[in-house]
Symmetry: C2
Subunit: 243 residues, 2 copies
Amino acid sequence: MTYCVGLKLDRGLVFAADTRTNAGVDNVATFKKLHTWEKADDRVLVLMSAGNLAVTQAVVSLLSEHIVQAGDGKPTLMTVDTMFQAARLVGSAVREVHQIDGEALAASADSFMVTLILGGQIKGEAPRLFQIYAAGNFIEVSEDTPFLQIGEHKYGKPILDRVTRRDMRLGEAAKMVLLSFDSTLRSNLSVGMPIDLFLYNTDSFSSERQRRIEQDDPYFQKLSGAWSEKLRQAFADIEEFDV
Amino acid sequence: MTYCVGLKLDRGLVFAADTRTNAGVDNVATFKKLHTWEKADDRVLVLMSAGNLAVTQAVVSLLSEHIVQAGDGKPTLMTVDTMFQAARLVGSAVREVHQIDGEALAASADSFMVTLILGGQIKGEAPRLFQIYAAGNFIEVSEDTPFLQIGEHKYGKPILDRVTRRDMRLGEAAKMVLLSFDSTLRSNLSVGMPIDLFLYNTDSFSSERQRRIEQDDPYFQKLSGAWSEKLRQAFADIEEFDV
């Protein structure tokens, strides 16, 4: 399993992804699921993935390879003019992998599972955020629900539903996203630390606000402890039920 | 979908079940999913169900019919000596329904889905709580995890994980369970009000502490509002993240 969250706020974008992959509970490993591409003062793109690891790695590798072989004039993530075109490229890469591996996967009773979150900014546009499906089609995030989740989304959704506001500061949103991970980590063993976190300020075209949050990260530990304590206190403060 | 929770605490048992059933989002209805049987000063049994409504109703009807036809000397929920035997009777009823309907359901691509929570107390024993599966087998709740959930369990699990203590008062536990429902109701449309709530005090052999919580219940509305407010306050009180 996996848990990734992407937010599009007034001040920019927030991305967070766990790093656990597993083939059964007896085969657990750490893999990066948050990938970035950037060109100074022109674009920053972030792609997060959930699903079959072989499929998601193949998609990322294809996208990167296309950039290196860009000599043939085909559009790549580094040359497209809009985030919409970037999302179409990612969708095409998903379809290409499906063409290569889909039949064999189906034959071995494995499924072609992949869901991706793509976000970023290309000069001339505001930041945008997309979710791309296994069929290669995609949706863009709306004004009404400014976040996207892929993977194990249920445990961590209540706090996003209650707290998200488009005018949040990015640091405030990061705090909320880490609490959403905290709830998920407690309930689903197949989601695991460390967490890759990326904050993107609109028009910065910079990837410097990113960090890997390790198990023993002092901020995360303090956050997790304080939240538990405050929840218990909030619970105690509410009037008891009586039939 | 459905959401039901059962808790076994030092002071007794707590049961809560929603009442929404749906066959697609365009076909929604209200059905009771919390059923009780009692004999004064001897036993109180509570059964909650999730799954295919035709299957769960058939199980409950069979159990009730067996009680009425008890003349043939077969054990029923009203005559067994222990909750373990009661759980076996429920399991047998599930298998009986499977024998009657299982093949036809499979043939029409419907699945034989049913999960049940059975709890209560029979004189001579302490209160006990079981979860019964579609195969008719079952588990009993443990010291370590004193709650059981069936149906849409994920959204409402974080609060149970954080707050449950075996020495809670029943009214305190009811408050917690209603908050667990509040989170679930916000995130899954197929779980719906009213909620049937049943508090059982050990050795009371009484079913008087039960209530149906309607949409406009003043306590539930106050609880839901206060919890949202306190969560937002707790969130605001925690230090912001900075990369």
